[in-house]
């Protein structure tokens, strides 16, 4: 079993209004089988023992499906392993790259204010979902399976879009801190299904309106989000969102209110 000492440069920020700075730590005897977050846990144990403030970072399921964790490691959102969240990143993958020094930063976007250290407030994503990321349909009692026919390729495509866990890596990786990939995935997974058709026009207008209102940047088609996404959400969904919005805004008679 391989162990290694690592030098960490961790972003420490006391609160949203603190300017923050990098702090240097040495992580001693890091085990190759540790996950990235376990490595931070051990560093925090040492900090606590010395009476120092531990490093704050978000995490929940630690199995790569909840979307809670996320830090930028040496410039990679969720670290260098493709299609992997920070919690499922393992130290052996970092050892393989020969990295001895890690720069660990929070998602950096004006719309994701830092709460503390590496933890950011992703409430903006919640508000985009609240704006229209749902189907307000009365479902009544349980219906028969296959009562609403959905072709297999459509349900597969909707599932591909629904894979988005809302972690915010797309915003973190985007040169413009744009939330286009997240918003597009959420609009598309509902817009593909028959149940989502009734609100399709309003949904895209409301969700894009909220996305812009939150102050995210615009999409300039670099494709960074797609590569950083731990779930491999495709930028094809962004084209679909653009198409849906252009169609909705040019054909719908009703106005959508813009929030100020």
């Amino acid at each position: 079993m391989k162990t290694k000492n690592l030098t960490l440069h961790v972003w420490r920020q006391r609160g949203p209004n603190d300017s923050g700075d990098f702090e240097r730590y040495v992580a001693k005897d890091v085990n190759e089988h540790m996950s990235f977050l376990e490595m931070l846990d051990v560093v925090n144990e040492d900090l606590l023992e010395n009476g120092d403030e531990p490093i704050a970072f978000d995490h929940d399921c630690r199995e790569g499906i909840c979307g809670m964790c996320g830090v930028v490691v040496n410039g990679y959102a969720h670290g260098p392993q493709e299609r992997t969240t920070a919690c499922q990143l393992h130290m052996r993958q970092i050892f393989e790259l020969g990295w001895d020094e890690l720069w660990i930063e929070p998602w950096r976007a004006t719309s994701f204010p830092v709460i503390k250290d590496l933890a950011v407030d992703r409430g903006a994503f919640d508000r985009i979902i609240q704006a229209g990321g749902y189907i307000s349909i009365r479902t009544g009692s349980a219906r028969d399976a296959n009562e609403t026919p959905i072709p297999k390729d459509v349900s597969d495509a909707a599932m591909d879009a629904a894979e988005c866990i809302g972690c915010g890596a797309c915003v973190a990786a985007c040169p413009n801190a744009s939330a286009s990939l997240f918003t597009a995935a959420k609009i598309s997974h509902l817009g593909l299904l028959p149940q989502g058709q009734a609100e399709r026009t309003d949904r895209v207008r409301k969700m894009v309106g909220q996305m812009d209102h939150e102050g995210f940047g615009s999409c300039t088609n670099h494709g960074e989000c797609e590569k950083a996404c731990p779930k491999g959400i495709s930028i094809d969904w962004i084209a679909r969102m653009n198409r849906d919005l252009l169609k909705a805004m040019t054909t719908s008679a009703d106005d959508i209110e813009e929030r100020d």
């Binding site: 040169p175 744009s178 940047g217 088609n221 962004i238 209110e257």
Partner: protein, 249 residues
């Protein structure tokens, strides 16, 4: 306060404006190259093409107005999105690794303004040259390079035998190619034009058009520098190209 949200206020609407105005300008650039390649058919063909452009003033001015509007819309949207995007990440990363983007995409905010300055230079040279260097004054001070209203062939070809004219031209054309490499692909995406069956063609078309236009435009100064096309000693007179006589009231 709540107001009606209009398309042009959304980031996606602004990108659509950039795509549509970009397509209008691209259409001009293709036509501009097709016309200017007539230089290889000799001075007569080229000059007659210049005359033909002026036969329908409504078309000429219509094109000019549409292009001016497209340039203005493209720049206004670009500036609006640029300032928004700067504000969207106020604190920069200490380390940031690019995984997917390319040189063209990263330099759009450079190739665009370079193109703008080049186009201004190009207009001052070959469109307004006759108003700047009047009464046989040498253009840019080059010996024997005087403006001939009825001989646009010479105005262009003589210019391209001088390095100081060729260098900004080459830079401008390269900026155009790089801008189009990302811009054409990006326009499809911004307009929501995607389909799994045709998606690969979007990049192919962007590469093909960018390469074709870059090489096409570069072929003219290259031919002039190599002496494959030479200034003509023929004299031409076209009333359509001569300036209207100034009447003093």
């Amino acid at each position: 306060m709540e107001r009606a949200l209009t398309l042009t206020k959304t980031t996606i609407g602004k990108k659509a404006i950039m795509a549509l105005s970009g397509v209008a300008m691209l259409g001009f650039v293709v036509g501009h190259l097709a016309g200017n390649l007539k230089v290889f058919s000799g001075p007569e063909a080229f000059n007659e093409y210049a005359v033909w452009l002026r036969t329908v003033p409504a078309l000429l001015w219509g094109t000019r107005l549409v292009l001016l509007a497209a340039v203005a819309a493209h720049m206004a949207s670009a500036f609006s999105l640029w300032s928004r995007n700067r504000g969207a990440r106020k604190n920069r990363y200490a380390k940031k690794k690019d995984l997917a983007t390319d040189y063209a995409a990263k330099t759009m905010y450079w190739s665009g303004p370079i193109l703008l300055f080049y186009i201004l230079f190009h207009l001052l040279h070959l469109t307004f040259g006759g108003m700047i260097w009047t009464d046989g004054a040498a253009l840019f001070g080059f010996e024997g390079y005087t403006w001939a209203h009825s001989n646009p062939y010479n105005n262009m070809v003589i210019g391209f035998t001088h390095w100081p004219v060729v260098v900004p031209y080459v830079l401008g054309v390269c900026a155009l190619g790089i801008h189009l490499f990302h811009g054409i692909w990006s326009a499809f995406q911004s307009m929501g034009a995607n389909h799994p069956r045709y998606n690969h063609l979007r990049r192919d078309l962007a590469i093909a058009l960018a390469v074709f236009l870059t090489l096409g435009f570069l072929s003219i100064p290259a031919a002039a520098m190599m002496g494959w096309i030479e200034p003509t000693t023929q004299t031409f007179y076209y009333p359509e190209l001569e300036p209207a006589p100034v009447t003093v009231p």
